[in-house]
Structure formats: C-alpha cells, structure tokens
C-alpha cells in the first residue's frame, strides 16, 4: 500500500524501511518562541548536555510578548539571548529583526518541502503549505529535540479535503478553513493530518495556503499539508536566497514530493465551494461558524487585521483595497499588524500603510500582540472584537467577559468601516 506525503517524510527521517505506529525521527529544524523557549531551555539544562545537536538547525523567535510588554517578558528574551550565545545558536531573533515566527521563518528560507520540523508553538502546522511535515510540540519535546536532534511521533492517519468549483468573489482561504472546521468540529481531525487538495487549492497563492494550513490545529489536527507544486517551489526558491540553515539531510527528486497514488486516507471530504459565503466563527469556538451576512447586528469595539493566520502581504492588499478612501468610525479601534518587517516595508512601498492610516487604523509593529491577549489591543469587559486571527476561546483577547469573532481580511476590513459585522459586498 502506498504512503501519503507525511508518511513518506516520517519514514525517511526515521531511517526505517516501512511504516511503524511510532517513530523516533530526525528533525531538520526546531524552534521556540519567547513563551515556550524559556521553559524549553530550563528543561534542556535538566538533560545535562553541554551542547545542542546542531546550532544551525535551532532558532528562537521572540514574537509573542515583544517588544517586551513588561520586565518579566524582557527577562525571558534576555534568558534566550544568553542561552543562544552560550550554545552558539546564531538564529536568535529579537522582535526588531523577525516578526511573527510562522511568517518570518518561511520568508527567510528556513522551511523547505520534505523537511521534518518541530516548533514549540501549536501553529507550526502552518508550514504544511510548503509540503513540510511540520508539527507543533511542547517545551520539553523541544528541549529533547535540541539535545538529540530527534523527536517521537505517533504516525498519524490522514484526512483528505478536496475543494471544487469556482471561488466566488469575496471568498478567501480563511473562509474555506473556517467552513471546514465548522463542518468537522474542533476535534474533527484529532491526532490526524489534514491534507488539502483539489483544483481550488492548486489555484491559491502561497499566502492563502499558509492561512489554510495554519488553522488545521483548530480542528485538532497534527498538521495540515498541501503537496508542493510550481507555486511552492517558486516561493521556496526565492526564500532560499535568504537561506541561513543547512540543506535538508534527505534529498529527493522533485517529482517525489508527493504521496503515492494508492496512499490510503481515513476519509475523503469533497466540497463544491461555488456558492459559499464569507464565514465568521462566533464566540467561543472556531467551529461555531455562521455566514457573515447573518451577523449584521453584531456591533464591534475593535477590529484586528494580522497574526500568523492573516498578516501577510496579500492580506494587507485586500484590506487596503476595501479601506481605500473610507473612514473608520471613531467608536472603533482598528489595529493592523503587518506580520514581519519585510512585509511592513513592502506595504509602505505600495502605499498600503498610507491607506490604513488615512482610514483611521492603528498600524502596529510586527508582534503576536492581541491575538493571544498578550498586549497592544486587549479587550475589556463586555467588549467585542472581530479578528483575522485563529482562536476565539473565552478570554483569548483579554477579559473573560469579552467576545471574539473570527473572519477573513475582507470581512474584517468591511466591518471596520461599518462598526458592525459586514459582508464586503455592502461597502464596495
């Protein structure tokens, strides 16, 4: 029986001939952020090794509570800086030269197809968009990984999602993934891989593919993955110009970067999305979806456009297109967060930042910030936000008595103009 792409990557990296239930596999790249990193370092010291497996294959990206929101957060960053210096880890990034990890790392060529990646952050599944097997792990996992260069995995079953039809106007990748999570539930893919495919996915740009794979974890998945094609290889080729990590240990011919024809899937979902409307996930679960047009009565105190889900250049372009020559009501805070300094620079060059500021948005430096209730946009009691982020759990963006709705960039930008949840067609 054939193997799926993720199974192939796991077999190759565990130097086995065939698939077993558990593998103890070699990792190409491992990283943590300023929240999971300090705990990982403390656990690493407990193992008692005097060196890491390969300093060039390890990175720390300080993006969550940075620029430091208080002295404790600042101390955590310093702690990682000192550890990196001591163990010769060059890939230590403070917020001034990184941005949000899941946007920054692929942008800088750290992630390649067929890589096996572990990150101490749940949204590590984002890199499945490049055809990597990329798994979110905990801090102790990462500590063990730093010491041994290996990680244990239960080999997951795969669910296949095929999207067909013509993408309607105003529909974005975010709507596809929200619709999918809404259909299968927040544990619908528990322990499994979500493989996204079909003609609709093939026509999506790389930014949109990142958005889809990013939220696979919201359905409980081990990771999301899209088999690489020309769009992937073009992106990776450009990103590799910034290459700072060694090549993948396992080189395979380009036409091998996909699953076998007779690979087995636990279940195949097939959806025609030609008539799908923009979706919004209502409090307090990402699976609690409703069409945007049915939520006109929801008044907003804040809109957030950004995060590892939707803070990329193409997202900002969509937002700017809708917000151009429009004015946001003074009762609403609209926060735009370009995900990396490079995206910020490009947005500035294209005049997008100008559009946001003229419309009345706050343009924030790159950070995870409000997405996880860290800083720069915390909600108070009774406040409601519409965000292009990925989670809307109780208290996620601040007060346990606040409300978070999740949507695409187009819906968020349109809603900012009206001060309530709005279908983009209403404002254009």
């Amino acid at each position: 029986m054939g193997l799926t792409l993720v199974e192939k990557i796991l077999v190759k990296h565990s130097s086995k001939k065939k698939l077993e239930d558990f593998v103890y596999a070699k990792v190409d790249f491992a990283f943590a952020n300023d929240i999971t990193g300090p705990l990982a370092v403390k656990q690493f010291y407990k193992i008692g090794r005097n060196k890491v497996f390969n300093p060039r294959r390890i990175a720390f990206v300080c993006d969550h509570f940075t620029p430091a929101r208080d002295f404790k957060s600042a101390n955590n960053v310093s702690f990682l800086r000192e550890f990196s210096a001591k163990f010769r880890i060059k890939n230590f990034f403070d917020i001034n030269n990184c941005g949000i990890e899941h946007v920054f790392l692929p942008e800088q060529g750290f992630i390649k197809p067929f890589d096996l990646i572990t990150g101490a952050d749940s949204h590590t599944c984002t890199y499945g968009a490049l055809g990597a097997a990329s798994f979110g792990v905990g801090s102790t996992d990462l500590a063990a990984c730093m010491a041994s260069g290996r990680c244990w995995f239960r080999v997951p079953k795969t669910l296949k999602f095929i999207y067909k039809g013509k993408i309607p106007r105003w529909l974005e990748a975010k709507d596809l993934i929200l619709y999918t999570i809404g259909n299968i539930g927040v544990d619908g893919a528990l322990y499994k891989v979500m493989q996204f495919s079909g003609p609709v996915i093939r026509n999506l740009g790389i930014d949109a593919r990142f958005t889809i794979c990013n939220m696979a974890v919201e359905a409980g998945a081990k990771t999301g993955i899209i088999e690489p094609d020309d769009i992937t290889f073009d992106y990776v080729k450009r990103a590799l110009k910034n290459k700072k990590v060694p090549r993948t240990a396992y080189r395979v011919p380009r036409n091998e970067y996909k699953g076998d024809k007779d690979a087995s899937f636990e279940r195949i979902y097939e959806w025609d999305i030609s008539k799908l409307e923009p979706q919004v996930a209502c409090p307090h679960l990402p699976s609690n979806i409703k069409p945007a047009s049915s939520l006109k009565s929801v008044k907003l105190s804040q809109v957030v456009i950004g995060s590892c889900t939707n803070g990329r250049l193409s997202d900002l372009r969509i937002a700017a297109k809708i917000l151009r020559k429009k004015k946001i009501p003074s009762t609403l805070r609209s926060i735009v967060i370009p995900a990396t300094p490079n995206i910020y620079k490009q947005a500035l060059k294209e005049g997008l930042i100008d559009v946001f500021i003229k419309a009345g948005c706050i343009v924030s430096p790159a950070t995870c910030g409000p997405c996880l209730g860290g800083h720069t946009g915390i909600l108070g009691k009774g406040e409601t936000a519409l965000a292009t982020t990925n989670r809307n759990f109780i208290g996620r963006m601040g007060s346990p008595e606040s409300f978070v709705y999740l949507s695409s960039v187009a819906v968020a930008a349109a809603s900012a103009i009206k001060g309530r949840i709005t279908h983009p067609a209403e404002v254009t």
Binding site: L39, K42, F65, S122, G136, A144, D187, L190, R391, R396
Partner: protein, 168 residues
C-alpha cells in the same frame, strides 16, 4: 501506582487558554501557574482543590495552544491525574513528557462531580468508590509506556539509545 482523589468535572473542548490564561505565560513557576489554573472559566477552582484531586474532562481536553504551561499548571495546582474522553494531541504529549498522569477513557462522562476515585495507573483501572463501578481506560502503546515509566521525556532522553530501546 494507585491514585485516590475527588473528582472535579469539566466539559468538552477545555482549551489551554482556559487551563492557564496567556497573560501568565511569562512565568515558568509551577506553583504560581497552578494558583491561576482554570481562572477564566472557574475562578474558585484553585481554592476548592485539595492536593491529590482528579480532573475529569470530556472530549478534546487541552485543545488550542502548545503551551506546556497548561499541564505544568495542573500539576502545580496539586492535581494528581487527568481523565478525559479524548485529549488534544499537544496536551497529550506534553503531559506524558512532563510526567503528569493522564488516562483516556471513553466512559469519562459517566464519572460525576464529587465522585471519589481509586485509580490503578499501571492497569488503567478506574474504580468509583461507593458506587461499586470499575471503568477501564485505554491502554498506552508500548512506546509511550517506556517514556512514562522513565518518569518523562527528560529522563528518557538522558538514557543512551541502547537502554532506551531495551526498556520495557
């Protein structure tokens, strides 16, 4: 190992933001994190808790972020064991890695708030005291049993490759 304790019941999809709110993540201190455990959904949880108590959840316990601070907080609060119908995968591996005992049990919903349990971890046997009922939980695969009996991933990694493979 036998664990005895009182049950604190939670529903489906208890996420890691519920277990420990993001604002406390700049700490790695188990005692402090424990004192904030479940604050967003049950502010009195820590005060009601007695050392050795047991958490029983529904489906998808520990979903959401990868923060290991969540099982660390549960352990730091003095909870000895978490039983759930199913666990989110990162929470599942984090718990095994740091040595917080967990059991996956399809009949977890039949355990009630305030029940007293006597749990045999090695057999995966859950006895509800006073009700004369015994429920069996899922068995851990051999690979994971080896990590669990080592006391967690740190100890397991410390051992050389040969020892790791030999351990049963």
């Amino acid at each position: 190992m036998i664990i005895k304790g009182k049950v604190h019941k939670f529903g489906n999809n208890i996420n890691t933001d519920d277990i420990i709110a993001a604002k406390y993540l700049d700490s790695q201190d188990a005692k402090f994190l424990g004192s904030k455990c479940m604050e967003n959904i049950d502010p009195n949880f820590f005060r009601r808790l007695k050392p050795g108590d047991i958490i029983v959840g529904g489906r998808n316990f520990g979903c959401g972020s990868s923060r290991e601070h969540a099982p660390v907080a549960i352990k730091g609060a003095g909870v000895r064991l978490v039983i759930a119908e199913s666990f989110a995968r990162i929470f599942y591996r984090n718990s095994i890695n740091i040595g917080l005992p967990i059991l996956e049990c399809s009949l977890a919903r039949t355990i009630k708030e305030g029940d007293y349990l006597e749990v045999d971890l090695s057999k995966g046997e859950i006895k509800i005291l006073g009700k004369n009922r015994i429920i069996n939980s899922e068995k851990f695969p051999g690979f994971l049993r080896r990590i669990i009996t080592s006391g967690g991933l740190i100890n397991w990694t410390k051992r050389g490759r040969n020892l790791r493979n030999k351990m049963r």
